[in-house]
Amino acid sequence: MNVQHLIDWQFGAIDRRIFWDPAIYEQELERVFGRSWLFVAHESQVETPGSFVTTYMGQDSVIVTRGDDDRINVFLNSCPHRGNKVCFADSGKGRAFTCNYHGWAFDLEGALKKMPKMGLYKATPGFRMEDWGLKRARVESYKGLVFATFCEETPPLGEWLGDFRWYLDAVLDAEEGGTEFLPGGATRSVMNCNWKFPADNFVGDIYHALWTHLGGSEPTLGRYGGVIVDNKGSYQVSVNGHGWEFNDSFLGNAAAMGDRELLTYMKARQEKIVARLGEFRAKMWGSVASATIFPNFAFLPGYFTFRTFQPKGPTTTEIHAWTLVPKNMPEDIKDRFRRGSMRTFSPSGLLEMDDGENWEQSTSANAGWVTRNQKLCYAMAPKEEVERDDLPGIVTAGQLSDANQRLFYKRWAEMMDAESWADIPCAPSTMKMNEAVE
């Protein structure tokens, strides 16, 4: 199905059927999730050989594990014999994954190693153990974040992220020594919404904070004037559909956690972070901001919640969230971020609790045939495009606009309609990444 006609990204009118239609959803699994680099784990979750986590790529269950050669492997969590899962744990450590059904056992690289009554297969003409391993994905990392894809044609992760990496360093490389996910696995919850509503919210919708989050922010920010967002000193940037809206407040998001000690600590780090990242990106570290890495991996600077919006059908999405901190941060401060991100952006979070119903009702309204044949308005125009040699990507002035969301859907339509990767453009990288930091 061609979807180009459903997306008017230039003005900003989006057909509501893309949030409802099962055929469109099936095509997304194939052409968007099946061809994108998808976030699967932080390296810190699989620190030693044999440690593993399980997650999803689209609706495909996968195992992420570190092999004895220290490389991270990602493979399907489904036995090629009868299809049962081979790993039922969310995380752990082991030497093999053994299917509960008939006992087929696979090693840390997904290769089939043994099964009961192996002799029967040895006597089977044409059967070769190496043909029946767990299907492996391509795996690449960027500064601790591990991505995978089962598509052979997808360009390397560096090209996929492109110049977005330069901005990502504002949260992934603000401090020396790398980052880690705080322990305890993901907080996971279910929303009855299409996955694109949370994804487009994080890619560029700060506008909603001014209304949706009035209640959640009242106890922490009310005394200080509430949620303050305007188009002075703020931007949106988009690269290959990835997007980040942000202002220059350095710790505006963090303030909503209502922890003064945390803000004092962050202020004390500012000089060092400016020296590392430069003035512009340093201000993005904890500022009023949100971002989505296309298609479904999002984060919030300041709270440092990183999350995937896992598709579970056209109208069901699971949110998996972790908290990312610099490894070298003092333990007490890490713990404050753990509690701060939990209290704001987790299923019990003061702010996250405001969001879910919006996305659910935006989705379920499309059960109405007349309703679903209307357009949604993504028309809020940015003030202007910013032409600065030192800022890569498509940069627009002001964080209050629909600029990033329109470019997100432009990318979505490109991927949905393209037969092959030859028809999907990637913006050339212009920044020397290693020059950014180090």
Partner: protein, 205 residues
């Protein structure tokens, strides 16, 4: 109106545990396995009455009154659950791990601040709650006037038309005798779900 319902309250002045105190409280909850002497029925009856009233206050959104049932040294904890193999040697409930709730009394006050702000749109029209508590067991502790309790709860929510969620679980409490009844000093809420089968936890447990 109690102080917690004041919209311009400065929550940083509300009672709060430091990290060390919170960890000690968590360790105490993890160690609570119902091994003390079971209390006399008359005390059991009082405790059950206390939980019935607590449930009703929550159902009726009487958050200011419910807040008065919390001790100033409250530790309120809902750890997450992970699917792990039985051979896994990690402790099941790790106080350093991400949790759904990990709170002092001040954090509860902040949550009540959201609910009573008049600005939490997703609670308007109101969510309807039904909270029940069963299987109550009460044990003596080494501290006179403090009891360890174990019980089961079910919290049903319904809002709008078809939006509903049932959350069942176990609670472990440490409660303290105060004038006119009890206060909750420690509470551990143990959900059986590894993926929360709801969009949020916009409720108290």
């Amino acid at each position: 109106m109690t102080a917690v319902m004041d919209r311009k309250a400065d929550y940083s002045t509300f009672p709060s545990l430091n990290k060390q105190q919170a960890r000690m409280a968590a360790a105490q909850l993890v160690a609570m396995r119902g091994e003390g002497r079971a209390v006399e029925d008359v005390i059991l009856g009082r405790v059950e009455r206390f939980y019935r009233r607590e449930a009703r206050l929550l159902d009726e959104e009487r958050y200011g009154e419910w807040y008065e049932l919390l001790a100033d040294d409250l530790f309120y904890w809902m750890p997450m659950r992970e699917n792990r193999y039985r051979r896994d040697e990690r402790q099941e409930f790790d106080p350093d791990a991400m949790a759904f709730f990990d709170e002092s009394k001040a954090d509860i006050a902040v949550r009540i601040g959201r609910l009573s702000s008049g600005l939490a749109w997703t609670e308007d029209p109101a969510t309807r709650h039904v909270f029940s508590v069963t299987n109550v067991e009460v044990f003596e502790t080494p501290v006179s006037g403090e009891f360890e309790t174990h019980h089961v709860f079910s919290q049903y929510r319904n809002r709008s038309e078809h939006d509903e969620s049932t959350i069942c679980g176990r609670r472990r409490d440490l409660i303290r005798v105060v004038e006119g009844g009890f206060q909750i000093v420690r509470r551990m809420i143990i959900l059986p779900q590894s993926v929360l089968l709801a969009k949020n936890l916009s409720a108290f447990f």
